[in-house]
């Protein structure tokens, strides 16, 4: 069974009399353990696709199964539970809480998972350690560099031990060198069995993935294995 299974997914935005289809009849399967890059020009629907996969948004038409569970038609609370248990997010602009320490930022999803404080702290420290920032746990977001902030965000994404991590332009705000380190980190996650999907418009970043999806006008126009995949096999 595929981890992600999209069938005839459409997302239509209505503004006034005009309808704009951000996604049109998208069919997609992603197996557990895949490392997928989604690219496409701006407005091609890649962010919308990520939001729907991430259960932040609901499709207008079509069905979506995440780990066998039908997602369409769930209410806000149920979607929040799925996001909390199954998905870790990494954003272009990091989206860490301001004036809050790295450790507390990483603890955040665990608070909403109702994990008791002591265990929460332990797991958050483990996650920070995994991204190599255990020594920065008491630093607030503004005291960290962009690369460090993104690594804290990755720690936050993986602290709930989700099967899926989604990243929307994770290197968009980073220089080349830090981008590399962040992508290496994501590749490492993939090696530990977590499914990783990310959006990017940079070909060299997309090259880290083993599978490449190209979107245009709301449709997947290419779906191919990358050299990285061939290297692996």
């Amino acid at each position: 069974m595929a981890l992600i299974e999209l069938r005839d997914i459409s997302k239509i935005y209505v503004s006034g009399d005009t309808e704009l289809a951000a996604l049109r009849d998208v069919n997609l399967q992603i197996e557990a353990g895949e490392f997928v890059a989604v690219t496409g020009s701006s407005g091609s629907g890649k962010s919308t696709l990520m939001n729907i996969i991430g259960c932040l948004d609901q499709p207008t038409h079509g069905t979506y199964h995440l780990a066998g569970q039908a997602v369409a038609g769930l209410d806000r609370g149920q979607l929040a539970t799925i996001r909390n248990h199954f998905i870790g997010f990494v954003f272009q602009s990091f989206n860490l809480l301001a004036r809050t320490t790295a450790l507390e930022n990483v603890e955040l999803p665990l608070i909403y998972a109702r994990v008791p404080p002591a265990e929460r702290r332990k797991r958050a420290l483990e996650a920070l350690d995994r991204v190599g920032l255990a020594d920065r746990k008491s630093h607030t977001s503004s005291q960290l560099s962009g690369g460090q902030q993104q690594r804290v965000a990755i720690a936050r994404a993986l602290v709930t031990r989700p099967p899926l991590i989604l990243a929307d332009e994770p290197t968009g705000n980073l220089d080349t060198k830090t981008s590399e380190s962040v992508m290496t980190l994501l590749s490492d996650l993939r090696k530990s069995g977590i499914t990783v999907a990310f959006v990017t418009h940079e070909t060299d970043i997309a090259a880290y993935a083993e599978r490449l999806l190209v979107l245009r006008d709301g449709q997947i126009v290419r779906d191919e294995r990358t050299p990285a995949d061939k290297e692996r096999s």
């Binding site: 948004d57 609370g77 909403y112």
Partner: protein, 410 residues
């Protein structure tokens, strides 16, 4: 929903980040709660003072006032035109079975001079029955007697305040001479301390002389009419209504008032006057409390306003929380607890301030203030409710945010 401690911790942290703003917002609640407590305390104080007056004056005391003037449609108050005669007084004393005692009381504010001091006070002319009616005992010396009355002697009885003003504290005034309007008097007795009246005047600031003497030497002749009031006591507190009826019938007869015409006098019982006063006080304190309550509600609107600002400012934070899996209920609780904490802190400080201000007012101005514990609890509960009610709208707004929109918010 995540645990209460977690939510409270979040609320406190958010408030501590904007200490000045939190304090200014809480100030609205603080002032509202303090005002409610203080206003109710003032109202209750006034009520208890009236109660004290009622007990001090005696529940079976009535006052007969002479009639009102009626000139060209203008009516003066009761007492503006003397209509009560000495004959009326004798009739009340002899013919009204429910009256235990009756005494005339005339007043004149005038300087009283001792060897060492001058003090302007109220000189009263009355008969010995008055002290019995008022249940007012002599502390030292003797009281006025019927012999004083008959002989129009220049003996005087004084209150404690007058004694202190004329002779100094702890000086025995008995046997001392004073002058009132050029005539010398000998002080024969000092009255027990009576304290403030229900209207706030010092009842011990008084000099009493025989009615006959007062008429002749102070008022310039007794005349036919009593220039003042008649004090009555009923045979029992239950008999005051009977006294009122008997005296009214008797005086209408004496004054030959035809049926259907108004009385040219009025009979009032102290209990009745206290009742009217206490009704006025209740109205007034309800009014004060309502105004205070309005300020509490305005404080609540302040809380709502700042919470709305806070929700807008923290849209992105809300988006992040929603994205990592916060339930809409968690977000609702977070903001609701924040508003509630703000209101509760305001409420607690407000209670302290209200009680403190009450204490200060009573110490500074001698007002009697009664802080009712139930009002304190009520004020706290109301401020909590204000927090919940006015926090609900912003909190719901936060909980209903779309995570994608919220994350995009700059």
């Amino acid at each position: 929903m995540i645990s209460i401690t977690e939510t409270t911790r979040l609320g406190f942290r958010a408030l501590l980040r904007n200490k000045t703003r939190a304090f200014l917002t809480a100030l609205g609640i603080i002032i509202g709660v303090a005002a409610v407590i203080c206003m109710v305390a003032i109202g209750e104080g006034a009520k208890s003072r009236i109660q004290n007056m009622l007990e001090a004056t005696g529940t079976n005391v009535l006052i007969v006032l002479s009639g009102s003037t009626s000139q060209g449609g203008m009516r003066g108050g009761f007492g503006s035109q003397p209509t009560l005669t000495w004959e009326d007084l004798r009739a009340i004393q002899n013919e009204a079975p429910s009256v235990r005692a009756a005494a005339p009381l005339s007043r004149m504010t005038t300087p009283v001079i001792s060897e060492t001091a001058t003090w302007t006070t109220t000189v009263h002319g009355t008969t010995p029955e008055y002290f019995d009616i008022r249940d007012w005992k002599i502390a030292t010396g003797v009281g006025l007697t019927q012999a004083d009355e008959g002989g129009a002697t220049r003996n005087a009885v004084i209150g404690k305040t007058v004694a202190e003003k004329l002779f100094g504290e702890n000086v025995d005034p008995i046997g001392q001479a004073i002058r009132i309007r050029e005539s010398p008097y000998i002080i024969v007795g000092m009255l027990e301390e009576k304290g403030q009246s229900g209207m706030g005047s010092d009842q011990d600031d008084a000099v009493f002389v025989p009615m006959t003497t007062f008429g002749a030497r102070i008022q310039g002749g007794l005349g036919k009419f009593i220039r003042g009031q008649i004090y009555l006591s009923a045979i029992s507190p239950q008999a005051t209504d009977a006294v009122e009826q008997e005296v009214t019938r008797l005086l209408r007869e004496k004054h030959r008032i035809p049926d259907g015409e108004e009385d040219d006098f009025s009979v009032r019982s102290i209990a009745e006057m206290a009742g009217a006063l206490s009704a006025t006080t209740t109205t007034l304190s309800t009014l004060l409390a309502s105004i205070a309550l309005v300020s509490l509600i305005v404080g609540g609107i302040g809380v709502m306003n700042i919470m709305l600002v806070s929700v807008t400012e923290r849209t992105r934070e809300i988006g992040i929380r929603l994205a990592v899996g916060a339930q809409p209920g968690d977000i609702l609780a977070q903001f609701l607890v924040e508003a509630l904490t703000l209101a509760a802190i305001g409420g607690i400080i407000g209670v302290a301030l209200g009680v403190g201000a009450g204490k200060l007012l009573s110490a500074q101005f001698g007002w009697s203030l009664v802080v009712r514990p139930d009002i304190v609890v009520l004020a706290l509960v109301v401020s909590g409710l204000v927090g919940v009610i006015f926090g609900l709208y912003p909190a719901r707004k936060a909980a209903r945010l779309d995570p994608i929109e919220a994350l995009r918010y700059e």
